[in-house]
Amino acid sequence: MSLDQADPIFVGGTVGKSVAKPDNLEKVQGRAEYIADLYRPGMLHGAILASPHAHARINGYDLTDALDAPGVVAIITGDDVGDGRMGAFIKDEHAIAKGKVLYVGEPVAAVAARTEEEARQACRLIRVEYEELPAVLSPEAGLEPDAPILHEKLSEYIKVFDAGSEGNLCSRTELSEGDVDAAWADCDVIVEDEFTTQPQAHVSMEPCGALAEVDATGRVTLWSANQSVFRVQANVCESLGLPMSKLRSLTPRVGAGFGNKMEPHIQPITVALAMKAKRPVKLILSREEDFEMVRARHPYRVRMKTGAKADGTLVARDCEVLVDCGAFADDSPGVLGYSLLMCGGPYRIPNLRASGRLVYTNKLRFGAFRGFGNPQVLFAGEQQIDQIGDKLGLDPFEIRRRNMLQEGDQWFVGPRIGSNGLARCMDAVEEAAKGPRADGSPRNFGLSVTAHISGLLGTGAIVRMLEDGTISLNTGATDIGQGSDTVLAQICAEELKLPFDQVVVASPDTDGSPYNWGTTASRVTYTTGRAVKAAAGKVVEQAMDHAAEMLDCDVEDLELREGGRIGQRGSNTDVTFAEISGRAHWAVGGPLVGSETLVFDEPTHDPKRAIALGLPFPRIGVFSFAALGVDIDIDDTSGQVTVHEAWSAADVGRAINPRLVDVQLHGGFVQGLGYALYEEMVWDGARLANPSLMDYKVPTARDVPDAIHTFIIEDPDPTGPFGAKGAGEIGLNTVPGAIANAVAKATSARHTDLPLTGERVLDGMLGPDPSQD
């Protein structure tokens, strides 16, 4: 039996069922089209010349030889783009280096030629005259009084919030509640440390790419690997000075994102090339370029101090972070602000102060990455909770239970918490992990808990009933493989009481889709799901009005029945969606379309309880919760840590599709495992020393334990669609903290630096001096 004749997979399907994603079929058959798989008539291939310098002025270009090279049609440099600058929070970035280069690997010129090989060869013939400048390679160096300045015109840039930018300081945020300085006197136990975390690469399996084409009127169509067609549109238009109406942004299948494809990569360059070449141009990054010129997770320096009473009650925490921004602001101000909002963890800490600085350096931009600043502060915070517990003789569950946020509490600086399943998450982990291993040996157990938001910014949905009563759903949300199209179709189908397979999801298209900020911030299920549910509800209302007329009764007497029928209560008579839609299309009222737009608009900051300066997200979202327990082994010879067993529980409000939630928890755990144990981007001076999968290693199937147990906890959020909250990031946040706590238990050594390599753990076990072995 071939797959095409297989049993229908999409039978029925409503909220709470693990419907298989429809896109799985074309993916297993090798027929899914990603950006690199698109070809257009007359299409050229692009390649990029990257900067060899960390910081240099560009004094000129000599393109003579490159233009003469075989197959070359067009070349663009900074001279081809205007003064436009793009950026989510601070508009500081040109489409391509203009006037200066700010990091090794930054695009300086791009070539369009008949083949990729010809384009790459031609790049080598471009001569750029540089005047080298001293480089800033760490945030500390960037804050020195005589530091070289990356952005001389920083004060003139457009900023969307009170960033406090100055010199190389990109932004700063300060939040506080209570009186931290006075509170230390009330503490019986105080722990204090400095923690560092490393840069991590996203390593989406699909490298970034784009394809642009200009039509006869000069309007651009742009396909690209992205997490938001709308952010692509905005960034390209801002950086190239195009009216937004002149650019249509689309997306093929996307080979994952994890934050890497949310803000721009090479879309503006590809558009500029296509405009100059007057031919379609496709530009696909190599893996090495994807490492060097897109973005990565921020390295953090976290100074944290936490105090508690003798009974374990937390009294105060002070958290100060210094964050490497890289060359451009990108999402960094948001990451800084968010990590500070989250640095207290899901605990009641009456006196809490968080401050941070984000500093420009001559490295690639750091930006959004699953967790968005939360894993870095959590690595510090969750270790300090354990340290306090250890000092007071309270086990990891107990110290957390005594302090966790309760129903009705507000989060740090003020946001409302809709529902809180943290206690149930901890119960699930504790119950499953209790006792020794199957062979009777004791566990090396570590625990970490977390909260994460889902929400933020604008979203919309359009639900259209087609003539035959089936449904077209259009949200503009990019499905990056995680299954948001499936989840949104489930929400839509549920609201309309239709089988899942009667809802089709339109591909995001800035021409035809309602605005969607993006597939990011664990937000699509919650935010877009709300819009979908409301829009579908409006279609039901319209259908009810038709049905009332068709059945000659009051709307109040009608009920929506399974399978697309509306009937009179207590009677068998009903009308089908097909009959209703036909009537609407051809006779009365017009086609049935329900639409809804919304923006998450509950304020983050409650001025009555907290002081907040430089808060980049004034309206943030609702809270999901999670707990992770790990039981680890440490190799005596090498110090390497492996996970023996893990228990990951997450409160996602309501699992619209439990299997997809489960895969998020597994995938997040394994990506977090790489982050906790060995993934690290290493710089040799200004050069990234390991921009390849040979040298930068991510976990393989053999590095992952079989025994990862997931627990989906459902504590419905009153505002979420069917109670749902986000699940995309929360499974990663807890991994470094839980493993660090387990390592501390197994070796009696606390580690303040990530990743927890065999080398570090062995040093912790034996002391740093090998001659003492």
Partner: protein
Amino acid sequence: MMAKKVLHSLTLNGEQVDVATPSGATLLETLREDLRVLSSKRGCNQGVCGACTLLVDGKPVRACLTLTARCEGHEIQTVDGMGEDHVMATLQRHMVESGGVQCGFCTGGVLISARELLAEDPMPSREAVKTALSGNVCRCTGYRTIVDAVVGAAEELAQ
């Protein structure tokens, strides 16, 4: 001047295919740029990620490390051309149903590696599945659902 092309005669998914491809081209380049067979993906071009994995004479190899010139006289199979293969179809169905597919970029390579494993070892342990798939990097799933799919397909095929 276009790069010099060389004519090769290949056997692709059971069919004879003549293709002109740049001399020294890898099979990945030839398949994608000259034949528009797109199921092998370029994830790293270094042989590490596994997204380009395909079968040559029934053995999984990296298309990005294989020269087209060396493939004459050998049987090449790609995932898009294997729908009629009962074992592959069963694996595909289990991948669809178990949630082993997320972004899908690694999926074709994963299926090729799994197909060869089941040819060698029809009832593999989970450990054996992980070993067979250790050269196919997946950044989305955490591997659990993929291993479930391969084990599930093997169990079904054994019945």
